[in-house]
Symmetry: none
Subunit: 142 residues, 2 copies
């Protein structure tokens, strides 16, 4: 896991976390680390740098929020792969259109009328609005 050339200056007045963030960021932006590449685990890198693994974890988290890497519990952390060329928001809505059309096709095939489908959707959406009042990052569980 080629990240061995990272160096921490313990005497520096910039925090260790910040140092890790900056150096990893540099290697990602300069292309030394390519999309999909796996980074060392928090514990591996921590051992190399003689630092606590949670400090590395915090740095990874920041990089994650910056959109540079993707951390996945139980799997590891990877350089972010840009989903594809093109507008992200556009693709997102396109995906919604796809599954919506698929759903409507199924319903039509099953012989339901537009009115029936419309009524059912309104009913279910209303139910969800009650149960999940305008939240984001829903941790579903039942």
């Amino acid at each position: 896991m080629t990240l061995s050339d990272i160096h921490i200056d313990f005497r520096s007045d910039t925090a260790i976390t910040a140092q890790i963030v900056e150096q990893v960021k540099g290697r990602v932006l300069s292309g030394q680390l390519k999309p999909g590449n796996q980074l060392p685990t928090v514990r591996q890198l921590a051992a190399e740098l003689r630092v606590n693994f949670n400090t590395v974890a915090r740095a990874y988290r920041i990089l994650d929020e910056l959109g540079l890497i993707s951390t996945q519990q139980g799997r590891g952390t990877y350089i972010w792969e840009p989903p594809e060329p093109g507008n992200a928001a556009e693709r997102r809505l396109h995906a919604l259109t796809q599954i919506t059309q698929h759903f409507l096709n199924d319903a039509a095939l099953m012989g339901f009328t537009v009115d029936e489908i419309h009524a059912e959707i309104e009913r279910e959406l209303a139910r969800r609005l009650i149960e999940q009042p305008a939240e984001k990052g829903i941790k579903d569980k039942e």
Copy 2:
């Protein structure tokens, strides 16, 4: 073993296991998977999804406990027989409810808000009303 349209987002903050559970659940409830049908083996599905087979096994176990499927060591996993409810009209509407919930679940997993989903549905339904004014039993195809 038609379960190839399942998709895992490793960057999502919902666990892989939960993603599998939700999507299989949707396909069972919507009738895309019928009682008695065999699901892919844990290893097959795991290979497709690029995931550890034990993660799939955990998802299957949860679905088993939910009463949706039946996992049998050495044999495989099968869709469970659902109790037949009420009369024909009731069952028909029930089916619509199922596929609607399935659709909304998928959309929610993909991070769409209720408002977005609602807008998209209205748009697509309007389009269909124009193309197929007040028809029943539309034999659409994608």
